[in-house]
């Protein structure tokens, strides 16, 4: 009954999405305030219905209702509760429902939070959001219904893929989807601005927090996914230039460019056409990622992607939205007047360079991901584009950004002085050089690690220098403190986010100094790995809730003293008859000792991989710092003031009635 209610709620949500796809635009055309005013309420009710549908599916999974096909295929009664809940989105149908739920949530937030917006723009944004909702709700209802019943319910479900039975599943997909779908708001704002002809600094200020929010979630989602693969896959890799990863990296690059170009548009009314284009591009790349992953084009060997209708449907959505928005763009972009003028050497100039590099990097990833497909369908020739290609193209393209970043921060708006900026970065330059010397003495080769490590330190210190030069201009400590507090939050946000990506780069550079041992281990072995000694104590076995595990007990010694122990394990999940490694990881300072085992068994031994990964934690820690920078920037006064004005208006509204 609850399951059917969920299905019905989804149908109602679709009907409301159709309503909101038309009525607000009618209102805008007829200049009818009442028609436009329906948009927010309908968006809120639509959110309630989608949430009801999602709740119904969660209920079916939690209660292990094996009369529902989706539950049968992806759940098992012995599964721990957290995976019964997270398993809701651990499959195609459920994850699409989560996608739509997040879309509805964002629409509801826009409906509530943006009353400081011009009414027509507000209605149009919600209208465009409803187009997207309608398309995806129809997709779910027609091709991917999660509420399908089974005629003869089995006693037990087939279980969830063991690789997904990880706390990562509870956090990572929702975060990534918040990022992907968050970009839909920027897209809707861009389309609405084109429709209402309201492309100005006010628009940029309104759209900026949403873009920042989406960017933060994307940053965290990608980092989380990277860490998840790092600790699950058993050999410490964290990025593979895999098409599915590229599908998340491209929107991130576009969103990063968009965050920067909206800054220019907000401050100086320049780069309007480009910013609108980027907003369209960002969400288009999100959609394309969904298509590539869902259609089975890139994963054609996969057994779950057998339904070609899904691929064609999503391709249709893709063509409709990307094509439609670009057509609208081409139609209206000529209306745009060029905004503020600036010299090539200026903050704007640096941000233009940033956008150039980010978009080319994004295009490189796009071409690298799609080229084998295109070539094969055009000429039949099969080629592979893997990590070595991206290392040879993307990396050299992207690295100059780390030089531009601190310089850009030091340049003034409109017209800056390059010499002045470099002078302000003396400390950062010296720090970078000193870091290179220290790295060379401490770790030595490879040279790339030394150079990139130095660059990372330059970026971090350069980002901090920007804050320091604004705060430490003399006076007592108290005055400096007040100045630091008084600094715009967006300045702090920029500095923090830039330092964050520098920290990530430092972690990436340090991978070159890692130590790896691949060997056969038996109890009693002592293996020197980097600065530590790993002592294999014994092997054991244990029984988990829905798996059995074999593990090795390994002590970590430093200078003969035991400083920790890890238990790398190999888990076997009988329901799916698959096994999964559970690496043993000990974080020591900023580095990690990483050990994983695989069954081999001859004479009671295991094949093992042992690593010392110096500074590796920084890769993900940097991403958290970046997101924190976004958060601080989001709390900037000018965004909060918009909110305060809204409250006043609500309070003031009833007065005439009295």
């Amino acid at each position: 009954m609850i399951v059917e209610a969920g299905h019905y709620a989804l149908v109602l949500a679709f009907a409301l999405a159709l309503f909101n796809s038309v009525i607000p635009f009618w209102g805008i055309r007829a200049h009818d305030d009442r028609l436009m005013a329906t948009a927010p309420s309908v968006a809120l009710v639509q959110f309630l219905f989608v949430a009801t549908a999602f709740g119904a599916l969660v209920y079916a999974h939690v209660t292990s209702d094996f009369s529902v096909l989706n539950v049968v295929e992806n759940s098992h009664s012995a599964k721990p509760l957290i995976y019964k809940i997270a398993g809701v989105w651990g499959n195609h149908e459920g994850s699409m429902l989560l996608w739509v739920l997040i879309l509805a949530t964002f629409s509801a937030l826009v409906a509530c939070a943006s009353r400081a917006m011009p009414q027509d723009l507000h209605a149009a944004v919600l209208g465009v959001q409803s187009w997207i909702s309608a398309a995806f709700l129809l997709f779910i209802l027609l091709t991917s219904n999660p509420f399908t019943r089974v005629v003869n319910p089995p006693m037990e479900g087939m279980g969830l893929n063991p690789l997904l039975q990880d706390p990562g599943l509870a956090i990572h997909p929702p975060l990534l989807y918040l990022g992907y779908v968050g970009l839909s708001i920027s897209f809707s704002f861009a389309a609405a601005a084109l429709i209402c002809r309201r492309i100005d600094a006010v628009w940029a200020r309104l759209v900026r927090p949403w873009t920042l929010l989406a960017w933060m979630f994307l940053t965290l989602g990608i980092a989380m996914g990277s860490y998840w693969s790092y600790y699950t896959l058993g050999w410490g890799g964290f990025w593979f230039w895999d098409p599915v990863e590229n599908a998340s990296l491209m929107p991130w690059l576009a969103a990063t460019a968009l965050v920067h170009s909206t800054a220019v548009m907000e401050k100086r009314e320049a780069l309007k056409i480009w910013t609108i284009f980027l907003a369209i591009l960002g969400f288009s790349l999100s959609l394309m990622g969904t298509f590539l992953v869902r259609s089975g084009i890139l994963t054609s060997v996969h057994s779950f992607a057998v339904d070609p209708r899904r691929g064609i449907f999503i391709l249709g959505i893709l063509v409709l939205f990307i094509g439609g928005s670009l057509a609208l763009f081409a139609w209206r972009a000529n209306d745009l007047k060029q905004g503020g003028v600036f010299a090539p050497v200026s903050r704007e100039g640096a941000l233009v360079l940033n956008n150039l590099v980010l978009s080319i990097a994004c295009a490189t990833v796009l071409v690298g991901t799609l080229y084998p497909l295109a070539l094969q369908s055009l000429t039949g020739a099969k080629i592979s584009v893997g990590a070595p290609f991206f290392n040879a193209t993307f990396v050299p393209l992207f690295l100059p950004l780390f030089l531009i970043m601190p310089i850009g921060q030091m340049l003034a708006w409109k017209r800056g002085s390059l010499l002045g900026a470099v002078q302000r970065l003396i400390v950062a330059c010296l720090a970078g050089l000193a870091a290179m010397l220290i790295f060379a003495a401490w770790h030595g080769a490879p040279v790339t690690s030394i150079v990139i490590g130095g660059l990372a330190v330059f970026t971090i210190v350069g980002a901090i220098s920007d804050v320091v030069r604004r705060v430490a201009i003399g006076g007592s400590i108290g005055e400096n403190f007040h100045r630091a507090i008084g600094l715009p939050r967006s300045t702090w946000g920029t500095a923090i986010a830039h330092a964050g990506i520098g920290v990530t780069l430092l972690g990436l550079a340090a991978t070159g100094w890692g130590v790896e041992k691949v060997l056969v281990i038996k109890p009693g072995d002592v293996v020197p790995v980097g600065p530590y000694e790993l002592v294999v104590k014994d092997f054991g076995a244990e029984q988990g809730p829905n798996y059995s595990a074999k593990f090795a007990h390994v002590n970590i010694r430093s200078g003969g003293v035991k400083i920790g122990s890890i238990d790398p394990a190999l888990r076997f999940y009988p329901v799916r008859r698959t096994s999964r490694a559970e690496a043993g990881i000990a974080t020591l300072g900023l580095g990690q000792v990483y050990v994983s085992i695989t069954s081999s068994g001859a004479n009671g031994t295991y094949d093992a991989r042992m690593y010392w990964k110096p500074l590796v934690v920084l890769i993900w820690f940097g991403a958290i710092i970046m997101a924190l920078g976004g958060f601080v920037s989001l709390s900037d006064r000018r965004f909060r003031i918009g909110a305060a004005r809204r409250i006043q208006r609500i309070v003031a509204a009833p007065q005439p009635a009295e």
């Binding site: 997909p173 599915v244 150039l356 080319i360 070595p388 994983s596």
Partner: protein, 157 residues
């Protein structure tokens, strides 16, 4: 489909994946660390033909194992990296190389970043040039100067 794909597919849920094991197995490795290092570098550049975009270094498929053993045999026999790659390409085509060679087929692949860099920089330079005249307003003529002085004068008075 293997490890690489799993990385995020796990995330995006599709996976009906085989079990996990490691790539290079201790038994396969060469005694000489220098030769072994060469073998590892080479393995990272070669695709496991039956996997989804994984290198033979990362894959646990039987075929990848066979390839790893094969390249180690050839390294021991004294062949250079280029010779081994050429041999594999002659048998399996460019598909085996994770970094596609630069030729007519892949012109657009390798050329796109460079092309965009040139086009993008060109567009920016053009935009800057076009704007420059706007930056220097012509100085006022004599009559205008006089009118300005008059206006300023009246305001003060």
């Amino acid at each position: 489909m293997g490890r690489k794909f799993l990385a995020l597919a796990a995330v995006l849920f599709f996976a009906v994946m085989p079990s996990l094991a490691f790539a290079v197995e201790p038994g396969e490795m060469l005694k000489d660390p220098k030769l072994e290092a060469r073998a590892r570098t080479l393995s990272q550049q070669l695709r496991c033909l039956v996997c989804q975009g994984e290198s033979i270094e990362d894959s646990q498929a039987q075929l990848a194992h066979d390839f790893r053993v094969l390249i180690r045999q050839r390294i021991k026999a004294g062949e250079s990296n280029a010779q081994i790659k050429a041999f594999l390409v002659s048998r399996y085509g460019d598909f085996i190389l994770l970094k596609p060679p630069f030729k007519a087929d892949t012109l657009l692949l390798w050329g796109t970043p460079v092309l965009l860099l040139v086009l993008g920089s060109g567009a920016i330079i053009m935009a800057v040039r076009r704007r420059r005249p706007m930056r220097k307003p012509a100085s006022l003529g004599a009559t205008e100067e006089a009118r300005l002085a008059e206006l300023v004068g009246t305001e003060e008075g």
